[in-house]
């Protein structure tokens, strides 16, 4: 069986079931599919990037800041960003499948979520604690 990295290299795009809770409340573990494409060029702020850590782990997190030659990236359910070199980036999410329908990353409601969620980053620790208590997110 080929890896996601090989699929992306050969085909240019892949669909993948998300695993983990680091992108909650947007992407739900094993319930959300993402369509990932090989990036055309540099990523933009708020893109969801697929990258490979030095230990070989594949991670799908959001770009918080674009710097020269690297990105600061953080999951929607995380409060600490990590530095990711451009060479580690394998792909970028173009759309995702949740609750029975596909949503494009250009969708207005989605962009509204992204801007509000990212603007509230300094308070994320408290917001996620409340949402978890209300069982709205994991």
């Amino acid at each position: 069986m080929r890896t996601i990295a090989e699929e992306l290299k050969e085909r240019g795009a892949v669909i993948y079931t998300t695993v983990g809770v680091s992108m909650e409340p947007l992407l739900h573990e094993r319930e959300t599919l993402v369509e990932i494409h090989k990036p055309d060029g540099a990523l933009k702020k708020h893109d969801i990037a697929l990258f490979m850590r030095s230990n070989g782990d594949l991670v799908l997190h959001r770009v918080r800041r674009v710097c020269g030659g690297y990105y600061l990236i953080c999951g929607d359910n995380q409060t600490v960003s990590e530095r990711v070199d451009a060479a580690q980036i394998l792909g970028v999410v173009r759309r995702f499948f949740r609750n029975g329908k596909w949503t494009d990353v250009g969708n207005r409601r989605y962009l509204c979520y992204v801007h509000i969620w990212c603007a509230l980053f300094p308070f994320r620790r408290y917001i996620t604690a409340v949402l978890r208590r209300l069982k709205i997110m994991r």
Partner: protein, 87 residues
Amino acid sequence: MKLKDGIVCEKIGGEFVAVATGELSRSFHGLIRGNATMSYILSLLSNDMTEDELCAAMLEKYDISEDIARRDIRILTEKLSAAGLLE
């Protein structure tokens, strides 16, 4: 035969890709690539159907011989069965 719950088939680029979601994604980690015919057969298999019923539906939709329809159905259902995706 019937497809287990959790299979999503979507067009990506010029081809169709079927992947598992939910509990099924714990046992099936791969993806199945195919064409529009595969997508049609998968949509039929969301209901419990026999090979004869699938074949009749294929002959109604496509201008193909019964032999080709049965061959395509068997190739796909064997693949699905081997992957544990059929009930």
